[in-house]
Assembly symmetry: C2
Homo-oligomer: 159 residues x 2
DNA sequence: GTTGACTGGCTAATATGTTAGTGATTGAAT
DNA sequence: ATTCAATCACTAACATATTAGCCAGTCAAC
């Protein structure tokens, strides 16, 4: 027994590494009463002025059903405005409010400062390689990757 | 306006890269009626025989309050057993059931096979560097990293 | 003009993440 | 023996993740 698989759990490593990073930013973000997802959206919108929900989903890696709730709460908090497009009643435009513009202008520099602290601690070399490898992983996804054949479904509840 | 921060959102890159990987495993895992977290726990237990909840939390990167629910459901599904330690009534021992041992022995090889497929598509080189950089990020966390000074709290709800 | 495929945001149901706090238990210090 | 801090699993409340499906709006083909 106690046999290990041939490959270490790579997604789990990502999870851990991500958490090691994020724990240095989380206190800053929550200090301003924001969640991590809300900050992702604010940051994105501050760099793009206006976006549609599905674009925000794509960029911020938040699924559509989650986005509905997140945007509702942010609208409630007066962080964003939602406006239907007249020419296509299905689509919606999301924008920052003056309040959140102000918020980003105060929060943003702190985030950058923390990045510099981390870069110093980790070494600029490591950070550079990190960005590089991540980009290669994401780019590698361009070719279709086959999926292993799955056995017929089995009724595990019986056991 | 539209000014970008000096650093790209690194945690978000991790999120994306992780998803690019995980999407190749998720179908396999859910084919067996498991969630991603349940598989993390099963895999870990299969490599260690028995563990306490807080150890599983640490290894699998699941917070304690989530773990309570996850383990309850897994116990309900007859995937694990929970047993209080006699010598310390606070602590609990979690073990695999024969059913889940069987499940792991069928699922595990498929996971390994999928890793090989991915390694072939990404290039063994990239995978190797990936593991290496991740380990360095996690190891870099050994030294205490200072936190930027935060301004006094402000009542943003007023705006 | 109607049909039919499609799109985009949404709801519903369930599982997990996050933060704060509870209660029983243990072990060390009094 | 009693106090006290620490530990561990758990609960509560809320936010988000995940999967499935719904519904109105659009657009092209008929």
């Amino acid at each position: 027994m106690s046999r290990k698989l041939a490959y270490r759990n790579l997604p789990q490593l990502f999870l851990k590494a991500r958490e090691e990073l994020l724990c240095h930013f989380r206190p800053i973000i929550s200090h301003f009463g924001l969640t991590e997802q809300q900050w992702r959206i604010l940051r994105t919108l501050s760099e793009t002025e206006q976006l549609e929900p599905r674009e925000i989903c794509e960029i911020c890696h938040i699924l559509s059903p989650s986005m509905t709730g997140v945007l509702s709460r942010m609208e409630e908090m007066n962080l964003v405005t939602r406006e239907r497009m007249p020419e296509d009643q299905r689509r919606v435009i999301v924008r920052l409010t003056p309040k959140s513009e102000q918020l980003v202008s105060e929060l943003g520099p702190l985030i950058v400062e923390q990045y510099k602290v981390i870069e110093k601690a980790f070494g600029a070399e490591l950070i550079k390689e990190l960005y590089e490898v991540m980009d290669r992983v994401i780019a590698a996804e361009r070719g279709p990757i086959p999926r292993v054949a799955l056995p017929p479904k089995k009724d595990w509840s019986a056991l």
